[in-house]
Amino acid sequence: MPAIDTSAQVAGAFSGVGAWQRATVASVTVETYRAKTFRVALSDWSDFRSGQHVDVKLTAPDGYQAQRSYSIASSPELLGSIDLTVELVEGGEVSSWFHDVAEPGDVFELRGPIGGPFTWTVDDGGPLLLVGGGSGVVPLMSMLRHHRAHDFAAPALLLYSSRTLDDVIYLNELESYASTDSGPTVSLTLTRQNPPGWTGYTRRIDQRMIDDLLDEVGEPTLVFICGPTAFVENAAGLCVAAGVSAERIRTERFGPSG
């Protein structure tokens, strides 16, 4: 059975989550038809590890409050602010506020950074295999941006599964990585509909895909898998079947988070 790596705990990198603080929307970027990124200025910004998340709390005039957790999309090199990419969930009371109401200047409460094993810094090294499904790409994007800030010091590969090309978050930025010499390999797979001339994968993640990509990136030091539960269960099982030892695999499952 896999042992747990407690080195980060021993190093004291997770000393505390801190108090609720004031978060102010600084800018809004439309990523896709159902994902927006909010750059949020924090009154008490602190360093974090890529892959961590924050808790968000909204308060209605009658005192009703709702809390949700969102992964940080920006890298720790962006000081003073963090980016939150929020996918619109049908009927979701918090995501619909972000999508339908929030604009620069709006204020809410935020707490964090939070989270332990699903984190990566350049000191952890590579090769690095990142596997994202849907909005599960968000914490992986923080890792890639942190990686970029350190000139892509280790081999890395992102396998990113989306329903259609219109669902791909950060498409332009991911394409720009492909044109750099040392940048990560980005493999997209579109599971429902692919445009004419599409040369990427067109199927759900399977054993052959994982085997081929592992051949390309090499024996990974760490594998991070994030997405809906069934996606993560499948991808993690395929990596284990491909011979990756279980203690190298870190997962985060996105439940419904309205």
């Binding site: 997770f14 505390g16 609720w20 308060t59 009703y64 109401v101």
Partner: protein
């Protein structure tokens, strides 16, 4: 624009309460009295684990309790021969969801102890799991029928992704204390953080006191 701030409604950690412009929230149709602070009602059953789901075969399964006075262990069939307890409870995950009226079948920690003629005198226990996951608990939180090793959820064998073949169930604490793929309890004379507790999560985790993180 300026946020609406209302000093009469209680302070935040950093000053007057922040009311978020334009936030209404969902209809207040659920029984709010059953939702601990900061939680929302979830009708599905989300899965949260940091590790790949392990495959634990019932034929190899063992559950043990280690105390200063002695130890005991049970295999799968021996566990099924102990008194079976059915429990319908609300469960609360620190990631904010609460699920109402979940039904579990398993063996209470009290029944394991009495079958072995053991008593838990130490003030704390550490739950150990097949993945290496750990979580610490005050002994009083696992006694008096407050905790069980659960193998059946809503009438079906517990799925591996939810901790099957068997998980610890401590429903009055946040759900990370209900360790999946549990392998044993080890008595401790002093409290010691388990896995998530070492990452800044609360040492006890009472959802009604909103003990999410250290210091809450």
């Amino acid at each position: 624009m300026d946020p609406a701030e209302d000093r009469s409604n209680g302070d935040t950690d950093f000053g007057p309460r922040v009311t978020t412009r334009g936030f209404v929230g969902r209809a207040r149709d659920v029984d709010q009295a059953r939702l601990p602070p900061g939680q929302y009602l979830e009708r599905g059953f989300p899965v949260l684990s940091y590790e790949a789901t392990p495959s634990v075969d019932r034929a190899d399964w063992q559950f043990s309790i280690e105390t200063a006075a002695g130890s005991a262990s049970w295999d799968w069939n021996q566990m099924l021969e102990l008194p079976q307890t059915s429990l319908t409870v609300d469960i609360h995950c620190v990631t904010k969801w609460t699920k109402l009226d979940t039904t579990w079948v398993g063996v209470s920690i009290d029944d394991f102890l009495s079958a072995a003629g053991l008593e838990l005198f130490s003030p704390y226990v550490m739950a150990n799991c097949y993945t290496g996951y750990t979580t610490n608990l005050p002994s009083e939180d696992v006694l008096d029928d407050r905790a069980m090793v659960a193998h059946t959820f809503d009438g079906e064998p517990l799925d591996p992704e939810h901790g099957g073949p068997a998980r610890l169930l401590v429903p009055h604490l946040y759900f990370w204390k209900s360790a999946k793929w549990v392998r044993g309890l080890q008595a401790m004379d002093e409290d010691s953080p388990g896995f998530w507790e070492g990452y800044g999560y609360h040492i006890r985790g009472d959802p009604w006191l909103e003990q999410r993180y250290a210091g809450d």
